[in-house]
């Protein structure tokens, strides 16, 4: 799995393993999402802040996976000749 690969490479974010950071963040996002009502339309109309908080929680992991994880696993985006940066 990606998590096992990250751990094998000992990739960290801050003091913790990156895999743990990502999984913890998914948990946090899950908590936010569980607080939302079944119908997102009513949720937006009654309390949009909760929607935004759930969105933000997920966005943190988008950055963690698209940036930290892709870099940690040395996964290239697109087949191009590279120059380093």
């Amino acid at each position: 799995s990606l998590a096992a690969y990250l751990d094998e490479l000992e990739r960290k974010k801050g003091e913790e393993l990156l895999s743990k950071v990502i999984n913890d963040q998914f948990e946090a996002a899950r908590i936010e999402i569980n607080e939302l009502s079944e119908d997102f339309r009513t949720q937006v109309m009654t309390d949009n802040v909760a929607m935004l908080e759930a969105y933000d929680a997920l966005q943190v992991n988008v950055a963690n996976m698209k940036t930290d994880m892709l870099q940690a696993l040395n996964i290239a985006v697109g087949y191009v000749d590279a120059d380093g940066d």
Partner: protein, 457 residues
């Protein structure tokens, strides 16, 4: 005493040498360029990089270099035909100018494709326009009986350029990220555990350190080792070893082969004359060449107009100065990248970013996030998200786009960047409306600081 030294230098520069080294350089260069162009076309990259995108990032001052749609194929064809003429030494100067202009135009069309080695090709082809590389073993020589001797400085110009490239590449590696943290090799090497023969080694904890220090020592010492006859054979083994290793480890395309071919210029005149003699023999046996005849031109020395060496000296002086402009900017070079390009900082950093653009309509207060995929290809988005000048240009492009749709836009960016194994950190100040920022050479103060110091050059 000083006058004696001065005249010694002048005599060295003007010393008549065989034109063979330049001829082999010309042929190698032409062949490598032809292969590069064919490869680029074959991999479908002409379409992918120049036709598919609806927007192209332009170099400062060169926004007038417009993409030309389907005609891009014609431009590549023109460059390719030029390489054939260069290899054959047919109307060499015209061919070289054509290649330089067409290749450089291709590169200027989209900043996304910037590679140090494309810049190297432009620089070399510019120099080659003014060097007598067609005086021997060429169709021009057959037609015009050109002088077979050239002054030393024509050969040394190319040696000096390569000296600069290697040495600056080495200087770039003198920083704490490279030498102490062993980044970015620490990120790049362990994932190549599956390579045959050396994969087992790349996983070891000592590998990034060894390769980092080895690379720095190589870059700094190799130009000196190549210059002197006694150390050259060993140096050349190192050159081949180094570049083949990079070819194996990294997706850098033609760069290793272009460098290996170019470095041949350091070899002795005898070496080059033997190559030319060998090629001559092959061509004569294939009945493509008449048998060699001695002609009075074999002793004549090429004497160009006085302005040529001066022009080349000025050009090389610029090549020395341009990489130094990074020192004029505050902030961490690897983070802000101000002055990073055109300085031979090759394979030096690993950077990845994620940029979320938000359009706020100043009239209604409405706002929404932008899907970058609507405007940029994946490769463009990748490059944009980690380079501030791209972010700024893209923001202005978005501003124009939304203005045309009738909004009164402000563009804000929420972005993070990960550099050399550090965690991703906020990059662009999310409170700055980038439409208010002008694209100049001044320091970009809307980039949030790295919060870390990288010591070194």
């Amino acid at each position: 005493m000083g006058k004696l030294d001065g005249s010694k230098i002048v005599r060295y520069w003007n010393r008549p040498m065989s034109a063979a080294p330049l001829a082999t350089f010309r042929i190698c260069f032409g062949v490598l360029m032809l292969v590069s162009l064919l490869r680029f076309w074959y991999l479908g990259w002409i379409e992918e990089r120049y036709l598919t995108p609806t927007f192209h990032f332009s170099y400062w001052g060169f926004s007038w270099v417009k993409p030309i749609g389907e005609y891009t194929y014609g431009l590549f064809l023109l460059a390719g035909l030029a390489t054939l003429a260069i290899i054959a030494g047919y109307r060499y100067r015209l061919a070289m100018i054509t290649f330089f202009l067409s290749f450089t135009y291709i590169e200027l069309m989209d900043k996304t494709t910037y590679l140090n080695h494309y810049y190297f090709i432009s620089v070399v082809s510019f120099l080659l326009i003014f060097l007598p590389a067609h005086h021997t073993f060429s169709m021009d020589d057959r037609r015009l009986q050109l002088p077979q001797k050239v002054p030393q400085w024509t050969i040394d110009t190319l040696k000096l350029l390569l000296f600069l490239v290697y040495f600056y590449a080495g200087l770039g590696k003198l920083n704490t990220d490279w030498l102490v943290a062993h980044e970015p090799l620490n990120t790049w090497l362990p994932t190549r555990y599956d390579l045959p023969l050396i994969g087992w080694m790349l996983e070891k904890s000592w590998a990034p350190g060894l390769f980092s220090w080895g690379g720095a020592i190589y870059d700094l010492s190799i130009p000196f080792l190549l210059w002197y006859d006694r150390t050259r054979p060993l140096a050349f083994l190192a050159v081949i070893g180094f570049h083949l290793m990079t070819a194996l480890l990294f997706p850098i395309g033609m760069f290793p082969y272009i460098m290996m071919g170019s470095t041949l210029i350091f070899c002795s005149v005898t070496f080059h004359e033997r190559i030319i003699a060998g090629l001559r023999q092959i061509f004569t046996q294939l009945n493509l060449l008449p048998a060699a005849t001695s002609s009075p031109s074999s002793l004549k020395v090429y004497t160009p107009h006085r302005s040529i060496p001066i022009l080349l000296a000025v050009f090389l002086a610029f090549q020395v100065l341009i990489p130094l402009r990074a020192a004029l900017y505050p902030g961490e070079l690897f983070w802000t990248e101000q002055g990073f390009r055109f300085s031979w900082r090759v394979m030096l950093i690993e950077k990845a970013g994620y940029a979320n653009f938000k359009m706020v309509d100043r009239r209604s207060g409405k706002s929404f996030y932008i899907n970058n995929g609507d405007f940029l290809t994946a490769i463009q988005e990748k490059e944009m998200s980690k380079q501030p000048d791209f972010i700024l240009e893209y923001a202005h492009y978005l501003g124009d786009h939304f203005r045309r749709q009738g909004w009164t836009p402000s563009i804000y960016v929420e972005s993070v960047v990960a550099l050399n194994g550090r965690s991703s950190q906020p990059f662009v100040d999310p409170t700055v409306d980038l439409l208010e920022v002008e694209d100049t050479w001044a320091h970009k103060d809307w980039i949030l600081p790295l919060g870390d110091e990288i010591w070194g050059l």
